[in-house]
């Protein structure tokens, strides 16, 4: 459903930066793909191209058969710091999408309630983002994305700013949500555990220029939960990916 074909991205400027070089990647409907790589290797750039936030320099990028040109609610994005509108309540943040799409209230109210229930925030519908913890804010970010009924969820290190415990809870929540809804997810992270736990497939990237060096299918059984983190199979995957990343990283 998502096809990157020879996609390159160069940021113009005083010194042009080639962030991505000839990336090929395809993601099936309902597939959970993690992008794993060191800082600066172009993970965010890749995701931003798919989101339609940045134009590509070369190659083709299609989503559901259509060339990606601009952002849209079919590719919902969850940002690292949630990026909620601080002047809107939880409810108004989550209904922002349906409202700017001029949906009728009857159409979105039930789904909004359902999504807030899914992320466990029904009781906080009238709270402002400043009154929430980082994890709760990120859950609002997820509800705001899901309420639009997207075909793909694009997440750029969504749990990177959270403490270890909240992070685990959020990973479990995402697993549950994804296992219920079954939409495609492109998940950027530099945490190997997170990638193995969540993804069907892990794309390892290397830097300068950014490219996908290896794709690893994660054959751990579903449904998964954070209890999987301590199984021998999990550790085996982890060791393999660590070796892979050392290779990708070179000698330094």
């Amino acid at each position: 459903m998502i096809e990157f074909q020879g996609v390159s991205k160069t940021f113009a400027g005083r010194t042009a930066v080639q962030a991505l070089a000839e990336v090929d990647l395809s993601i099936r409907d309902g597939e959970f793909v993690a992008l794993l790589g060191p800082s600066g290797c172009g993970k965010s750039t890749l995701l931003n191209l798919l989101a339609g936030f940045e134009p590509l320099s070369e190659g083709h990028l299609t989503f559901a058969g259509q060339e990606v040109r601009r952002p849209g609610p079919d590719r919902a994005v969850v940002f690292q710091e949630a990026s909620l509108f601080p002047w809107l309540t939880v409810w108004d943040n989550v209904t922002f999408g349906p409202r700017v799409q001029r949906r009728s209230r009857a159409e979105y109210e039930e789904r909004t309630r359902e999504m807030l229930r899914l992320v466990g925030l029904e009781a906080f519908r009238d709270a402002l983002p400043a009154q929430l913890s980082g994890g709760m804010r990120q859950r609002v970010g997820i509800a705001r994305a899901l309420v639009m009924n997207p075909r793909a969820l694009l997440m750029d290190e969504p749990f990177g700013a959270l403490d270890a415990q909240t992070r685990l809870a959020m990973q479990q929540l995402l697993l549950d949500v994804w296992q219920t809804l079954g939409i495609a997810v492109l998940f950027v992270t530099h945490d190997i555990d997170e990638a193995v736990l969540l993804a069907d497939r892990i794309c390892v990237m290397s830097a300068r220029p950014g490219r996908i060096t290896r794709e690893i299918q994660v054959e751990l059984p579903r449904p998964r939960s954070i209890d999987n983190l301590i199984t021998p199979e999990f550790t085996a995957y982890k060791a393999m990916i660590m070796a892979e990343m050392k290779l990708a990283h070179g000698t330094h």
């Binding site: 609610p73 590719r75 909620l84 509108f85 601080p86 002047w87 922002f96 700017v100 402002l128 009154q131």
Partner: protein, 304 residues
């Protein structure tokens, strides 16, 4: 070992709900602290001490003659008396031309400020948002504003009189012009500072350009807008006094200059105090509005 303990303590403190430290302290200590740091009721007491002291010293210094500096500065009691006549005296009688005209003059000035300020707001906010948001608008309006802005509103006086004559409109024009610059400039800064990811979030949710302007850029700019409004209103009061001293024959500015000419320094001082009071009250009005509109922001700054 000690480090591990510290770490543990830190963790348990951050894990449990943050207790408000103030509630643990005894009330008396809290009151004193509030007084010293200028919060709560202590602030009100603190705020009046210095002005009261100045008034008392001023009154004492002018004891005897009832004025300081050889009659230039009447003592507070004489200023008060002059204000009472100005405010409540019978109008149109006797030697005092201002008797009973205080409220009318206050209303003249306040109305001009309100009109000019409203005009500046109505033009300044939309234009500021546009300049901050649209490169084309920035390219065409920004240079013009930057070139006109250094011309002080006092320099516009002859122009205003030539165009509008000795009338209210001239004063309103000057007030609007003076208030316009800070409003438009602060709004522009606010619109330029909108977080990129808010725009991206709105775009991915399917927002149109008009939605982004009205639902994202405008609310995100409001904190800056209010800064501009407060500065603009202050300049508005300056402008109304200047304009009324020269270009209109009513209002607090007119009385100020006229009273000076006929040597009524008590009225001059009462007039100055009235201007200060009105400026203060109108600023409070904006603060109140800001408090109401920007509730989300207050909450944010409390927690972070």
């Amino acid at each position: 070992m000690a480090q591990a303990e510290l770490l543990q303590a830190g963790q348990s403190a951050s894990a449990s709900k943050p207790a408000r430290p103030a509630s643990a302290r005894p009330a008396a200590a809290r009151g004193a602290a509030a007084f010293l740091t200028g919060t709560g009721g202590g602030r009100a007491v603190l705020a009046v001490i210095l002005p009261l002291l100045v008034l008392v010293l001023w009154q004492l210094a002018g004891r005897g003659t009832g004025s300081l500096f050889g009659g230039v500065l009447p003592t507070p009691d004489r200023v008060w008396a002059a204000w009472e006549v100005w405010a409540f005296g019978k109008s149109g009688l006797g030697l005092n031309p201002y008797s009973g005209t205080w409220l009318a003059n206050v209303l003249f000035s306040a109305q001009r400020v309100a009109q000019g300020f409203a005009l500046a707001t109505l033009v300044g906010i939309p234009l500021g948002i546009l300049i901050g948001w649209n490169r084309l608008a920035a390219g065409s309006f920004d240079p013009l504003i930057q070139v006109l802005r250094p011309i002080p509103i006092t320099a516009w006086l002859p122009f205003a009189i030539a165009v509008f004559g000795i009338q209210s409109m001239g004063a309103v024009f000057l007030i609007a012009l003076g208030a316009f610059y800070p409003i438009v400039i602060n709004t522009t800064a606010g619109a330029r500072g909108v977080e990129k990811n808010w725009i991206r979030a709105a775009l991915m949710m399917g927002a149109r350009p008009s939605d982004i302007l009205l639902r994202v850029v405008l609310p995100a700019s409001l904190p800056s807008v209010f800064t501009g409004l407060r500065i603009g209103l202050g300049i508005g009061w300056t402008a109304v006094i200047v304009a009324e001293m020269v270009a209109v024959k009513s209002g607090l500015g007119y009385v100020l200059w006229d009273a000076y000419y006929i040597g009524r320094m008590d009225v001059v001082i009462a007039d100055m105090a009235s201007i200060g009071l009105l400026g203060f009250l109108s600023d409070r009005l904006i603060l109140l509005l800001e408090h109401w509109v920007l509730g989300w922001r207050r909450l944010q700054s409390f927690q972070n």
